[in-house]
């Protein structure tokens, strides 16, 4: 086997192998490597003893510290609720009016409401709550189901055309596609509806057509949009006399709406957000509108 030989330059042993006069050093592993190997091994033994570690069939070693990540998160959520309890208990107990009268409480509502809105509502209504095509602008005075905090909270709870059993239900029928109105009737009523918010439209349309449009409106639309076309918040019929439109207010958009109908949908948030969170959101939205008016 190997011949014991010490290399004169490094002082280490050689392996005793030789290839064409070249010998192989057998340098020992540095002590520091063994030191850290032992330290980390001891650390892991300590960790196995203290923390949850080894699977044992149907259970596992729980560790002396009794740490359970699920209990920790449940506790920390509970703890956070207790810390917030100073002001959330007042929001839960007091009426919308009393909360709005307290500027310090409303400051809390604005901060928390912004986060809740961003996590849950902003996807559809936009991070600035100004909505988009098909998704209502929440910063205007034009609310489909009522803009007071109680109504907003109820809309958030049950949703609109949602899967909630008490959902708010509303549908704009497809007057053209389902042949309830003829093509010229659709055209006339679209002109009439446009003239409600933009009097300039009336100048370009013959008075007879405008009258015909008004008659179509009275016969078909007033049930949901009201005799004065200012909408009905108990049926979710939009106000047609203001300058806010969910699906666009130009002739083409309104024609599309009258022809094919509309049925927007808002999910119910009852299973997802707590009553407290929904109340904060309702206050936040009511406040947001007042701020921007």
């Amino acid at each position: 086997m190997a011949v014991e030989e010490r290399d004169p330059y490094t002082g280490h042993m050689t392996t005793g192998h030789e290839w064409n006069g070249i010998k192989e050093l057998n340098t020992p592993v540095p002590r520091a490597v063994f030191f850290f190997l032992i330290v980390t091994a001891l650390f892991s033994v300590g960790y196995w003893i203290l923390m949850p570690a080894w699977p044992l069939g149907v259970t596992y070693t729980k560790g002396l510290l009794g740490i359970d990540q699920r209990n920790i998160v449940t506790e920390s959520v509970k703890q956070a609720a207790v810390e917030r309890g100073v002001w959330t208990s007042r929001i839960e107990a007091e009426s919308f009016k009393d909360i709005q009268a307290d500027p310090r409480l409303m400051e809390r509502v604005r901060q928390t409401g912004r986060t809740l809105f961003g996590d849950n509502c902003a996807a559809c209504h936009g991070s600035n709550a100004r909505g988009g095509h098909g998704f209502p602008n929440l910063t205007t005075a034009s609310w489909l189901w009522g803009g007071d905090p109680e109504s907003i909270a109820e809309t958030i709870r049950v949703g609109i055309n949602s899967t909630h059993p008490q959902t708010r239900t509303s549908q704009m029928m497809a007057f053209g596609r389902d042949q309830m109105l003829k093509k010229d009737e659709v055209e006339n009523v679209v002109n009439y509806v446009r003239s409600l918010s933009d009097p300039a439209v009336a100048k370009d349309v013959p008075a007879a057509k405008m009258e015909a449009g008004k008659a179509v409106f009275a016969a078909n639309c007033v049930a949901c949009h009201g005799d004065d076309a200012k909408g009905k918040t108990d049926l979710g019929g939009p106000d047609l006399t203001d300058r806010f439109w969910i699906y666009g207010g130009d002739a083409e958009s309104i024609t599309t709406t009258v022809w094919g109908g509309r049925q927007g949908q808002m999910p119910s948030w009852e299973g997802r957000l707590s009553p407290l969170d929904r109340k904060i959101l309702a206050l936040y939205l009511f406040d947001l509108r007042r701020e921007q008016r």
């Binding site: 699977p55 069939g57 699920r70 959520v77 902003a122």
Partner: protein, 243 residues
Amino acid sequence: MFNLHYRLERKTIGFLLAIIGVASIGGAVEIIPLFTIHQTVEDAPNMRVYTPLEIAGRNIYIREGCYACHSQMIRTLRDEVERYGPYSLAVESKYDHPMLWGSKRTGPDLARMGNKYSDEWHVRHLNNPRDVVPESVMPHYSWLGRTELRSEDLGRHMVALRRVGVPYTDDMIANARSDAYGQAAPDTPFAEGVTKRYGAATNVRAFDGKPGNLTELDALVAYLQILGKLTDAAHKPVAAAGG
């Protein structure tokens, strides 16, 4: 002790056995607990299975690499639980083959996405995310709504899933194609079959807003709308804690 290795590497068979022994520790630690998985994972007796349309959507989700930016796993951390909802349980992925927990979030977690937003929002968002979320960096998937869904192999997907433990019945597998069509076509005889086989709580809607033609968009939206809705098991520990 330090000479053990020196001696061992001179004995070929012994060294080989030692390598196999050491290398199998890592495997054993991961594989052995699987033998008792039926006792260690929570019970969810009323858990429903994915419908054929939802399987198709799930396959599109995998094909398009959605998992690269979206996780489906809410961790046991306070900020995640407060933002997304109850933390994920193992049983919720019982029928996921493969699981799509993901490991990176460029977009938000999707584990509790089901029924959070409307179908129309999903349709608009997939067509062009910036139409509804101006600050989004997600790519658009506008071709999904123009591409007819391939459904002829759905039954075979279900056979494969049944082989790994998803309890599909022969009836479900035989009707895979018509159920995929029916789930996106309410008020047709096909839709009744879906409700009969998969339960009344199944979403039966024209997911892409166009009843009649079955597109990849229908499938993906149907899948997104069921995320986190197969069982309510995850909501129970939270309710028990008074949260």
